[in-house]
């Protein structure tokens, strides 16, 4: 059985960045992704990304993906596409190639950069066709170029809800409203403002009560919420929609890390259960690392930097970088990450990340 130095699970921004760094240092790297092309989230993002210039801000998502991929090719990262990782057994990785052939690979180290999944909420009518995740709607529209409806209701005002609403408008459909259960808009003001300028309402302290329709969604009732999150009687409004998009948050894909024996911890500000990792992105299992949204829901810039950090740490562990060589780079990457996690939005994530690292130190007995 083939033993690779590093297997990177998931080829989004974090996985690509990690693979590039390990490979640059001299490690033999195999990056695996289930999709036909790497890039993860990036390939369906047609908007210009906010963020730091160092991390390609101002550039449209798919273009960031293209650039990272080019760098990965230049650095001789081996990329295996259309390949699903279905299980981990010690240092063995179970994969299904081309959706048909199952086999096992062996790796000295593994980096999990398998991203996140959409959270869902349930309500009467939620199983009707036409109720879908906002990310799913985005894939259907931007990748497959099909509009799943003409009148959308968006549930959730985080950045995903705001950005996907904007893209639905760009695709030519209508967004009847964005509703948000909390009394405040969750995403960035810049995204909220641009969707408001395009004429879409954002109703905070509102929730969905029921979706109606015979074979698919035809109408919806929403209502106002009071301070205790109870529906205000008589506040219900019913209107026609044919798609209801759920943008109620993302959660890290932790199934594979769990199979590998990594311990997790619940941190609401990072999306739920998150693999515990130290300042090198190493989990509680030696030789297994995490990066990007899989290590807590954040942004592309942090996904890239955490990927780099994991890539460097792995190269060090395998002896491709000396302690001294790795040290400066790692310190620098941690400083950048710290800076990115500033401001009122980032602080909570910074604090949650510190909790993870403290927990890892405690478990590892450092």
């Amino acid at each position: 059985m083939l033993t690779t130095d590093v297997v990177v699970v998931g080829g989004g921004s974090a996985g690509l960045a990690a693979a590039i760094e390990s490979s640059k240092a001299g490690a033999e790297v195999l990056l695996i992704d289930e999709n036909a092309r790497p890039g993860g989230q990036l390939f369906k993002q047609i908007h210009k990304f906010f963020g730091s210039r160092r991390h390609y801000a101002g550039i449209r998502g798919f273009e960031i993906g293209r650039r990272l991929l080019e760098e990965a090719h230049k650095n001789e990262v081996e990329i295996k596409l259309n390949t699903i990782i279905f299980g981990i057994l010690g240092n063995k990785i179970g994969i299904v190639e081309d959706k048909t052939h199952a086999k096992w690979l062996k790796a000295k180290t593994i980096i999990f950069s398998c991203g996140a999944s959409e959270k869902l909420i349930s309500f009467p009518g939620w199983t009707l066709p036409g109720v879908m995740g906002a990310g799913a709607a985005q894939t259907i529209i931007n990748l497959h170029r099909v509009l799943p409806g003409s009148r959308f209701l968006m549930i959730g005002s985080g950045n995903v809800g705001l950005v996907v609403s904007y893209q639905i408008l760009q695709a030519g459909a209508e967004v009847v409203a964005i509703i948000e259960a909390l009394p405040k808009i969750g995403g960035y003001g810049i995204h909220a403002s641009k969707i408001r300028r395009a004429g879409v309402q954002i109703a905070v302290s509102h929730t969905i009560k029921e979706a109606y329709g015979k074979d698919k969604v035809e109408a919806v009732t929403i209502g106002a919420l009071d301070k205790n999150m109870n529906l205000v009687p008589g506040s219900e409004k019913r209107f026609k929609v044919d798609v209801i998009c759920l943008a109620v948050g993302l959660k890290p894909n932790i199934e594979l890390p769990l199979m590998a024996g990594c311990e997790t911890m619940f941190l609401a500000n990072l999306g739920g259960q998150v693999p515990i990792h130290d300042e090198n992105m190493e989990t509680t299992v030696e030789g297994i690392y995490v990066a990007g949204d899989c290590a807590g829901i954040e942004e592309v810039s942090t996904a890239i930097e955490s990927g780099r950090l994991a890539g460097i740490a792995v190269a060090e562990k395998l002896g491709y970088l000396t302690k001294n060589e790795a040290y400066d780079v790692k310190v620098n990457l941690r400083e950048v990450l710290d800076e990115l996690r500033g401001g009122p939005f980032g602080m909570q994530r910074k604090y949650a990340k510190q909790q993870l690292i403290r927990r890892a130190a405690h478990l590892k007995g450092v």
Binding site: H47, K48, F49, F50, G51, S52, R53, A57, G58, I59, R60, S150, R151, L169, Q170, G172, A173, E174, P183, K184, I185, Y188, G189, I190, H191, A192, S193, K194, I195, R196, R197, A198, G199, V200, I202, V204, E299, S301, E339, L340, R341, G342, G343, P344, F345, G346
Partner: protein, 171 residues
């Protein structure tokens, strides 16, 4: 309902006037100038290098609010399509006797036509007044963000921030 960016998505005038990206009324009267409506400390900084004259500063940490040096800014509008938040506008109160020119980023098709009369909208997308499209600037380096200039009566300049989306009504 409460006012302001956090609850409505629309920055109030008080909020805007407090941000370092908002030019003084004196400067606004003197000619074209950028109006940066970016009010929250988020990790973002492309505007800083977008301006060839160095009139926008974010500095360190990256979560700082962009600060406009209103004396350096000439209102050229180069920063408009380069801000991923579509948060920068240029206002020219000296455009004509009674009109001001409002320049904003636009990412919808079809594009408005130059010289056409359209409904100019405020920050909530509501039609506010009629305006004349003066310029529609699409450049390759703008990467599909088009820069549109509209002439409106001066009294509306500080409220007009876009136009009614021009599209056939869906069924």
């Amino acid at each position: 309902m409460e006012k302001g960016l956090e609850t409505t998505g629309i920055p109030s005038m008080e909020e805007l006037e407090k941000t370092p990206g908002f030019p003084s009324s004196k400067r606004l009267m003197e000619g074209p100038v950028a109006v940066i409506e970016c009010l929250q400390e988020i990790p973002c900084d492309p505007c800083e290098t977008a301006c060839p004259l160095g009139a926008i500063e974010v500095g360190k940490p990256i979560t700082n609010l962009p600060e406009l040096d209103e004396d350096k800014c000439t209102g050229c509008g180069i920063c408009i399509p380069l801000c991923p938040g579509l948060a920068i506008f240029v206002i020219d109160y000296t455009y004509s006797e009674d009109e001001a020119l409002v320049t904003f980023p636009y990412e919808f098709l079809p594009l408005p036509e130059e010289d056409s009369l359209v409904n100019a909208t405020d920050r909530s997308g509501r039609p506010l007044t009629k305006g004349r499209i003066v310029k529609v600037l699409a450049r390759k380096q703008f990467d599909r963000t088009v820069v549109v200039s509209i002439a409106v009566l001066k009294k509306y300049a500080q409220r007009v921030r876009g136009i009614v989306l021009n599209r056939g009504k869906g069924e």
